[in-house]
């Protein structure tokens, strides 16, 4: 993949940056410029709002890859899954930090930041999201918008994954 193409996709690969239709509130990942489900979808053109996924989701389906794509030979066998994000969109990603035998449909997962591929030993390294099993300690605390530890006058977000940051 060219450096420029990957760089353009950095917001979505690093931070699960999608978008939301201001009319019907449908969330899209990757982002779209038009909402296809609205009755009057032309109204959404140019009005789609940036929206960052929380990174929480569940496995819809998965496969165990034994014949690796180039550059992934060291990770065989690895799990590729379709994950339904809590906010609705489905995305394809690797599931890591789990014995492949323990991956099940419906498994709760959370986004993690990993190396995706390297352009050989001298080339650029691409980073982005993969998913790891959700555990009890990785549910972001339920805090009011703006957070509890910052002055109320500060425009802020509670988590890295909050939509206000996207």
């Amino acid at each position: 993949m060219s450096i420029a193409r990957f760089w353009r996709e950095t917001p979505r690969r690093y931070n699960l940056g999608g978008c939301r239709c201001p009319t019907c509130q449908t969330v899209y990942f990757p982002p779209r410029s038009v909402c296809p489900v609205c009755v009057n979808h032309r109204r959404s053109i140019g009005r789609m709002e940036p929206f960052q996924l929380s990174g929480e989701g569940e496995v819809v389906t998965f496969t165990l890859v034994h014949e690796a794509a180039e550059g992934f030979e060291m990770q065989v066998p690895y799990v590729m899954a379709i994950v339904r994000a809590k906010e609705g969109p489905q995305l394809t990603a690797a599931v890591v930090d789990i014995d492949p035998a323990d991956v099940k449909i419906g498994l709760k997962v959370r986004a993690t930041f990993r190396k995706l591929r390297e352009e050989g030993r001298a080339g650029v390294i691409h980073y982005g999201y993969k998913f790891a099993p959700m555990d009890a300690t990785h549910h972001p605390p339920d805090r009011p918008a703006g957070g509890t530890r910052l002055p109320a006058t500060t425009a802020t977000t509670t988590t890295v994954g909050s939509e206000a940051r996207a």
Partner: protein, 353 residues
């Protein structure tokens, strides 16, 4: 320090995989269990093939930001201390800053000073925050260091890191004093382009680790007007399990004071992450009012010492998100040397130069 500046949030991350010294020794025909016992290392962590200093730093910092409810856009400086930055030229810090949503209004850089680059980053952030040039500074110590196959280092060199957000508001642990002790001492190094580090064997002990840590500790206690007994917890750099215990004992600290700050026996030497993961473990259990002493060490050589006082804020700090350090110490999945060699890129594949 003139102002109330200190740690306002923190997070640690250690990769999932572990290997034992006995398993490493089995491959090289040595008594690995005895080697582990002499080093005071029971297991060491191993990064997955898709983990490196950048991913470890990102995971640790995301935990810190969520726990502290800190707006990443308020981060004015982000520094990563490591001796295993994935690129020789191109900063790790920019990737991490982008991955946590801190770009573009911040300064960022990578630090290198063997194992003490993370503590050097904390000192830099203290200066910037104390001078009110920035609201929050982020200091990360993180490594995925390697020892050459069969070398003594291979029994301890591991992976992990911790991130500390430095600020003036809601300070969990106020920095009362910090100072450093630095000399030119060539005990451990890695030349440009070399895959594995080299070291001076026993020379890494007395003139290097022990001299710098001891001098630095004595000097900060002199400045603070404290004695070993003043501190509830002490954290030393820990290239193995034995050095910090020996230096601690020499300086008058008890096993109980060193207990939480010593993490290397369970996860190995995480280099730039070592003292910082120990500090994170201490903050997981510390009580308001506790005095905490941390003394880092980096080969080459230097020590950075910090005298912290835990504040009442720690009692209400929300640690419910993210893995407690204790779970990293006890958890993990053990792998054989063959898998370790594959994960760490020690196997040359067809077509490689």
């Amino acid at each position: 320090m003139k102002q109330d500046v200190g740690i306002v949030s923190y997070g640690a991350y250690v990769p999932r995989y572990r290997i034992t010294p006995a398993e490493i020794g089995r491959v090289w025909g040595t008594d690995g269990a005895a080697m582990g016992a002499s080093l005071g290392v029971r297991r060491k962590s191993v990064p997955a093939p898709d983990e490196d200093t950048i991913t470890i730093s990102t995971e640790a910092l995301r935990t810190a930001l969520i726990r502290g409810a800190i707006d990443p856009q308020e981060i004015g400086a982000l520094y990563i201390g490591s001796e295993s930055h994935p690129y020789a030229v191109k900063p790790s810090a920019t990737v991490v800053a982008q991955a946590v949503g801190a770009t573009p209004n911040l300064t960022a850089a990578d630090f290198e000073f063997a194992c003490k680059a993370g503590t050097a980053a904390i000192q830099t952030c203290l200066g910037l925050v104390g001078a009110e040039m920035i609201r929050y500074g982020v200091a990360i110590g993180s490594d995925t260091s390697q020892g050459a196959p069969g070398d003594a280092l291979e029994y301890s060199a591991s992976a992990g890191g911790a991130a500390f957000v430095i600020g003036r508001e809601h300070v969990l642990a106020r920095v009362r004093h910090t100072l450093s002790y630095t000399t030119d001492t060539p005990d451990f190094w890695r030349r440009e382009g070399q895959r594995y580090p080299s070291h001076g064997g026993r020379f890494t002990g007395e003139p290097a680790y022990f001299r710098h840590v001891t001098e630095c500790t004595r000097r900060i206690m002199d400045r603070a007007g404290t004695t070993a007994a003043s501190y509830a917890h002490v954290v030393f750099h820990q290239p193995n399990g034995k050095f910090p215990q020996r230096v601690g004992k020499q300086l008058g600290f008890s096993e109980a004071q060193m207990r939480y700050g010593l993490v290397t026996p369970s996860i190995g030497n995480t280099y730039s992450g070592a003292a910082l993961i120990g500090l994170a473990n201490v903050l997981d259990v510390a009580k308001p009012g506790d005095l905490v002493l941390m003394v880092g060490y980096g080969s080459g050589a230097g020590s950075d010492a910090f005298d912290f006082q835990v504040t009442d804020e720690l009692a209400t700090y929300d640690r419910s998100f993210g893995t407690p350090v204790q779970e990293f110490l006890e958890g993990g999945v053990e792998i054989p040397y063959s898998v370790y060699a594959k994960f760490r890129g020690k196997i040359h594949m067809g077509g490689e130069a």
